[in-house]
């Protein structure tokens, strides 16, 4: 039996909604098949008021063993570092987070807000938000760069806006069943099993990427979304086209550009007007090129690929 406590800071509940939609395994499977005891969760917890405070204090004191502390949302520090803009169970949430993280065997950050600040931490960051161990790309965050949970692991970051439900439940199961040792983390403390390949890996529009055929408008079945509509699939680490959403589809398969939501910089360009759904260019060349490709190589490849493009690549075609 592994005790799981899930709290929510500055957030929209998107990761909770995602979690409740999990299928492999489902939220119910966690309890019935994998021995996870959900101590409390914002949408599932039964305790209120004093009873909840008692539960949280029992976790902090060690009376109740806290195996997994899952946190969704940012740590809110405003105003003036007090955290009073996000009070919970009688005190600033940030104080609960500090104390609970210090006693937990594992700490798991769920979604962009908890991992690196996400949309709330976008400039000018009015809520003075931080992720648990990062603020955007900068290591540190609320718990500091050297934090490790009692297991010895740093915060396990499962980013996304929201995180895919199965990324959440599969990591929780791995931790709860004693298989945390098999989780290897990348430089941003994301599980490599999910975040080594790219969103583009498995995208059904890859043939259009290869032949440099663009989708200049929404609603087109043909064409790659990278060249004009701002898709970040070629430089975003996620398995969105390997582990499909709702077992059916993905953003890019549905014609929606990847927004790069599993990367620390999300939302990119601080959401300045005109930067969303539009590929940013400098002298006609994309500012952000596919990972590992330089500008000279990109231009050569594009020229050659366009010249070699078959006629069918320019025609309307189902790509899902």
């Amino acid at each position: 039996m592994a005790n799981l406590l899930w709290l929510q800071g500055g957030a929209c509940s998107g990761n909770t909604m995602s979690f409740l939609n999990a299928e492999e395994p489902s939220a119910v499977d966690l309890v019935t098949d994998f021995g996870i005891n959900v101590l409390w969760h914002p949408s599932l917890g039964m305790e209120l008021g004093d009873n909840l405070q008692k539960l949280l204090r029992a976790c902090v004191s060690g009376e109740i063993a806290l195996d997994i502390f899952a946190f969704e949302g940012t740590v809110v520090n405003a105003p003036d570092g007090t955290g009073d803009w996000n009070r919970f169970a009688g005190r600033p949430m940030k104080e609960w987070v500090r104390e609970l993280a210090n006693v937990a065997q594992f700490v798991v950050a769920l979604g962009d807000c908890a991992t690196w600040g996400g949309i709330p931490a976008t400039a000018p960051n009015p809520t003075d938000s931080q992720g648990l161990q990062f603020l955007k790309r900068e290591r540190g965050g609320f718990l500091g760069p050297d934090f490790t949970a009692k297991s010895g692991l740093p915060v396990i970051n499962i980013p996304g806006c929201p995180a895919h439900p199965d990324w959440i439940t599969q990591i929780l199961v791995a931790v709860a069943t004693g298989n945390a040792g098999e989780i290897t983390l990348d430089e941003f403390q994301r599980p490599k099993t999910f975040f080594t390949s790219f969103t583009q890996t498995g995208c059904t529009r890859n043939m259009h990427f290869a032949y440099k055929v663009s989708a200049p408008e929404f609603g087109q079945r043909k064409g790659c979304l990278f060249y004009d509509l701002g898709c970040r699939g070629p430089m975003t680490h996620s398995p969105c086209n390997r582990i499909l959403w709702n077992r059916q589809s993905s953003k890019t398969r549905a014609g929606m550009p990847c927004l790069g939501c599993t990367e620390p910089e999300f939302p990119f360009f601080d959401l300045e007007p005109g930067t969303v759904f539009k590929t940013q260019t400098v002298m006609g060349v994309p500012k952000d090129l596919p990972a590992g490709v330089d500008q000279a190589g990109y231009i050569k490849l594009t020229g050659a690929a366009k010249a070699a493009a078959p006629a069918w690549a320019e025609e309307d075609i189902f790509v899902v």
Partner: protein
């Protein structure tokens, strides 16, 4: 029996060829297009696109605002020819940028070029 699909495609191709020749004629006749400044930044791109969207959409206006030329323009060390532009359909010889939507030749150029 007449293949209607082929007939339709053929008619479209003839129309597009005629339009392509008309564009070439206008440019050879010295139509003064806005070749510079090039759309180097996102803001400049948006400015040009906005002008196209709010124009009367006539052929000449598209050519002028787009800054069309009959030969590639080298800019920043990069040759900006239609044939390498992301909006260029190789087989149809067509610019599919919605605000232009014109037949072109591979060696033509415009200032909205992007790769």
């Amino acid at each position: 029996m007449v293949d209607e699909t082929t007939t339709g495609a053929s008619a479209r191709s003839e129309y597009e060829d005629a339009l392509r020749r008309e564009i070439e004629t206008k440019l050879r006749a010295g139509l003064d297009t806005e070749v510079e400044p090039r759309a180097d930044t996102h803001e400049r791109v948006q400015e040009i696109i906005t002008r196209l969207r709010t124009s009367d959409g006539s052929l000449e206006v598209k050519l002028v605002i787009g800054g069309f030329t009959l030969e590639p323009i080298e800019h920043g060390g990069i040759e900006q020819a239609c044939e390498t532009c992301m909006y260029y359909l190789v087989h149809r010889k067509w610019c599919e940028l919605p605000e232009l939507d014109l037949p072109v030749e591979p060696q033509w150029s415009c200032r909205l070029w992007r790769i």
